[in-house]
Symmetry: C2
DNA sequence: AAGTCATATGACTGCATAGTCACATTATAC
DNA sequence: GTATAATGTGACTATGCAGTCATATGACTT
């Protein structure tokens, strides 16, 4: 946790520090990010930094808090009453909000993924433990509900599907930015390409890719 | 590329260096891995290292070569005549060999994934460019074949499915080690849990999770 | 044995960083 | 206006690293 001094700062100064820190971590990654370079960019003294934070990790975890808070803003409307909608509609909304979040805050996503993807890194468990984690548990109950409604096959392995669905959320974002959009830096508005991407994933999750074996079809004209 | 001097080394010494380097990268990651520490562990002089390699990146890319070579050994039997088998059987074999590889060479997989997962890292493109890359292109033609055989739905987005199938290969390995096996360090023989894991993924890819909408079924007793 | 080439060595230079601390500056209280 | 607390400062220390180079050692040749 940042020290009290940091939270006593005028909001503008705090925001400058956070913004520059986000840039630094996005550009260099956690390991190569440098406190010295950051304080120079911020035009604050090295010593001041240590008045605000315990060290690099402390700062980074604070940024992760921001990521989660911001992400929740995007997620909130979707998750307000999850039981009211069809499971796949809910999933679609979820992926859409993930994509919208990534589109408006690409750097936050970038530093978030640094952690999310690097289970071997020492910071991983601290970041996950204090923040994210167990997002897959939400899916557990949603899946059970969906099964009882006849929307999802009853014989699936629920924890496996929860896992898949979580990881597909990231995959959607990645696929859009790397394949569809092409990872250029220009920011674009929400568009149909994004919706198409989400639909690709949802359809895949729904139906897979094999040709269904038809049940005994009795077509009188046959 | 390592210098000639390195390849002139007696094989035992070369292997020691490679093994210790793999340990170093697996433990600390690329950024934090230290040449000084490695040379100490190897009991070779710092100067000697620079007789063998241009620097850290050179060494790392050499290790990536080893990863790819070793992985190909596991893949080769499966890919010998890919057109002879049903698409999903081939895919299953592919995932199985991926899992077998990860099981016998966990550290190689670890350092391989460091790169594969970090598209932002400066080393990424060099490692990909010289080595892996375009594995998804193999799937393109296989998928077309599978469609023509009526094994796969004809209206899929081929490049999308190639992408998914590639990323599911990694996901299978991750799921097995993190969820099924529990990521303990003990090495185990090939077992049924691994096969079950692969089957979970293959079934998911085949059928998705939604309850199929039945075609007009005319069951006389209905 | 002398000469030549390949390899080994580790002290040394130079650089970037983390983190500290005695002191300066500003805000707040009385 | 003076005292006290909070915050700002940047030179300084200590650490660790990459990469070099003059020199030593060994191996092979004639």
């Amino acid at each position: 946790m940042p020290k009290e001094t940091f939270f006593n700062l005028p909001e503008t100064k705090r925001t400058i520090i956070e913004t520059i820190a986000i840039d630094e971590f996005a550009e260099y990654g956690f390991d190569k990010a440098s406190i010295s370079r950051m304080t120079e960019k911020c035009e604050i003294a090295k010593g001041s930094f240590y008045q605000y934070f315990e060290g690099k990790k402390d700062l980074f975890l604070h940024l992760m808090d921001l990521v989660v808070k911001e992400k929740l803003k995007f997620l909130a409307p979707t998750m307000e009453n999850p039981a009211e909608h069809n499971f796949f509609e809910l999933l679609k909304d979820l992926y859409i909000s993930g994509l919208e979040f990534a589109n408006t805050h690409p750097k936050l996503v970038q530093i978030g993924n640094q952690v999310l993807k690097n289970k071997d890194h020492p910071v991983y468990y601290e970041a996950i433990g204090s923040n994210m984690s167990k997002s897959y548990k939400v899916f557990d109950s949603l899946l059970k509900l969906a099964i009882s409604r006849g929307e999802v096959q009853p014989d699936i392995d629920i924890s496996f599907v929860s896992y898949i669905i979580s990881s597909m959320n990231l995959a959607t974002v990645e696929y859009y930015f790397e394949v569809v959009k092409g990872d250029s830096d220009k920011v674009v508005e929400w568009n149909n390409d994004m919706l198409d991407t989400v639909n690709l994933f949802i359809n895949f999750i729904k139906h897979g890719i094999s040709v269904p074996i038809k049940e005994v079809v009795n077509n009188d004209k046959g």
